[in-house]
């Protein structure tokens, strides 16, 4: 499904065409890290280990999970993460 290959820039072209990634935080102090389990095997094990490391470092964490690994995360889960955390780690691995 190809709608169009390219659009023309309506701006003054003062910004790069590729949007820059958000800069990583200089410190995790006072921040909450979302730990997202997408439901793949051993993801929980990975999240458990990370949670322990963050706990030992005094960094707050919250855990989230997708209902199934076969579909994208529900909007409600994404909105909850955005509202409650400033960073996220996603356990993608098998």
């Amino acid at each position: 499904m190809t709608y169009v290959e390219k659009l023309r820039d309506p701006t003054a072209e003062t910004a790069p065409t590729r949007r820059a990634r958000l800069a990583p935080p200089t410190s995790l102090e006072g921040k909450t890290v979302a730990l997202m389990d997408i439901g793949k095997s051993r993801g929980k094990e990975f999240i458990d280990r990370l949670e322990g490391h963050f706990r030992n470092a005094g960094i707050a964490t919250r855990r989230y999970a997708k209902p199934t690994n076969t579909k994208v995360a529900p909007t409600a889960v994404m909105q909850q993460i955005a509202a409650e955390a400033q960073l996220a780690v996603i356990a993608l691995s098998d």
Partner: protein, 483 residues
């Protein structure tokens, strides 16, 4: 369809079944096919013409585009891979010269004009240039992923006002540019707040995104030029914490020719020209100028008109002097007036029957602009609907008499308006207590009267201005001719 499919030497005919002349000369094409190498490019039907061995279906119109076909049938002779002769339409003598006796066409008229090429159907040429030609567009190309929705891509890049925009593809931009004779690389001006140079091409791109038709583009360019008049103070209007944004009022025959609404619901939704011309200005300021809400746009609340706020004046009554003429534009010309407008304030008066009564009543409504105890804190637009205008017309009042009467009715004793008067802290300094104070600037700048609206309803609309207008020499409504 690659060029290799065309003959190195021989005849090519471009035709379409939908063309009566092409159908008429079908026997000629069959005769030419029997006589020697012939290739027919059929634009609309791969089975037409019958009885010809080499028919190439040019449904993409790529070959018609590359051959520069303007009408069908077109007969072309190639030699050594180069076009050496061409004739358009059916003209026996010319066809005989190019193709020989096989093109005699016994029984056919000597001459019959052809039909337009499908490659020149409305909008098609621009699409073909975008696909197969050189667009000449200079704006940066932004790639869109194969599976990405371009409307969402525009949102993600921050190019929208919060509503979906029409994705600015090359063919749409080319179609838009066809709406003006101005060159795409002409600089229209520098757009605040970043004072970025804005070309006609950038205006066209944003007009596409706003949903404009090409015939609106001259109006959009005129609106933008008015907005860039230093007297309009677009930068200040953009930065203000106040509600106001640019209000666009169009006068002249172009308003009718592009179908603008000056009647029922003129200040509301539903008319494409009204909606998209005002929106185009806002998108240009956002995208080219960098005027982003929450960044340089510091409006405390804003108003819904900052999406778009544009309408035309009702000029149907020959007794009425239209706004643009009042502000110096000769009759019959197209013009735009830009005003720093906040939202629409509805004004109801169903009891006044004389001009004098209605003026006094309108003055009460107009006193509310900004604050009832503030003066010269911004001007106003008064939109007179047909029912209210009828009261003035029946009384024999002209625009200028209404303006003068309103100006007088909008004077108040300073003692009623000073700080604390009427137990309200807001007001004017104590030093004004002994003066008579004007609510607005004198005519024609204080209250801009414009006629619009549907036939029912003893209402008018008051559109408050911007406190930036209080220094008349620095900031005013601007009226300019649309070239």
């Amino acid at each position: 369809m690659p060029d290799a499919l065309l003959p190195h030497d021989g005849l090519v005919i471009v035709a379409k079944r939908d063309c009566p002349t092409c159908v008429l000369i079908e026997p000629v094409m069959q005769s030419l096919d029997r006589a020697g190498p012939l290739t027919v490019l059929s634009q609309d039907d791969p089975t037409f013409p019958s009885g010809v061995r080499s028919v190439l279906y040019d449904d993409s119109l790529e070959q018609s585009f590359h051959l520069g076909i303007e009408a069908v049938p077109t007969l072309i002779r190639f030699e050594a891979g180069r076009e050496v002769e061409r004739v358009v339409g059916w003209e026996r003598s010319e066809w005989l010269k190019i193709a020989g006796e096989a093109a005699k066409g016994d029984g056919l008229p000597a001459w019959q004009p052809g039909c337009g090429s499908k490659s020149l159907d409305p909008g098609v040429q621009e699409a073909l240039i975008a696909r197969y030609g050189e667009t000449g567009l200079r704006s940066r190309a932004i790639p869109v992923g194969n599976w990405d929705d371009p409307i969402e891509a525009c949102f993600e890049r921050g190019w929208t006002d919060g509503l979906p925009v029409v994705p600015p593809t090359d063919e749409r931009i080319l179609r838009m540019l066809a709406g003006t004779g101005r060159k795409p690389d002409e600089i229209v001006g520098s757009i605040p707040p970043n004072l970025a140079p804005c070309t006609v091409e950038k205006v066209a791109i944003n007009a596409v995104m706003a949903g404009c038709k090409p015939e609106y583009l001259p109006v959009v360019l005129g609106v933008l030029e008015a907005a860039l008049d230093p007297l309009f103070t677009m930068h200040g209007l953009l930065c203000t914490t106040h509600f106001s944004g640019p209000l666009v009022i169009i006068n002249g025959p172009i308003a009718r020719s592009i179908g603008m609404n000056s009647g029922v619901n003129a200040l509301g939704q539903g008319n494409r020209a009204n909606a998209t011309i005002g929106r185009a200005l806002q998108l240009i300021v956002r995208n080219v100028g960098g005027g982003i809400p929450g960044a340089i746009d510091r409006a405390t609340l804003g108003n819904p008109g900052k999406y778009t706020f544009c309408f035309a004046e009702d000029e149907s009554d020959p007794d009425w002097e239209p706004l643009a003429q009042r502000r110096g534009i000769p009759a019959g010309r197209n013009a735009v007036t830009l005003f720093h407008g906040e939202g629409v304030h509805g004004f109801i008066d169903q009891k006044s029957r004389t001009p004098e009564e209605l003026v006094r009543s309108l003055a009460m409504g107009l006193f509310g602009v900004g604050h009832p105890k503030l003066v010269r804190a911004g001007n106003a637009v008064l939109v007179l609907t047909p029912k209210h205008y009828r009261i003035f017309k029946d009384g024999g009042w002209s625009r200028r008499r209404i303006e003068d009467a309103l100006y007088e009715a909008l004077k108040r004793p300073g003692k009623d308006l000073v700080y604390g008067a009427q137990d309200v802290a807001e007001g004017v300094p104590e030093s004004y207590a002994d003066k008579m104070l004007d609510k607005f600037d004198p005519p024609p700048d204080g209250v801009l009267i414009v006629r619009a609206g549907g036939p029912a309803g003893l209402f008018s609309a008051i559109i408050g201005g911007w406190p930036g207008q209080r220094v008349r020499e620095e900031c005013q409504a601007v009226t300019r001719e649309i070239k």
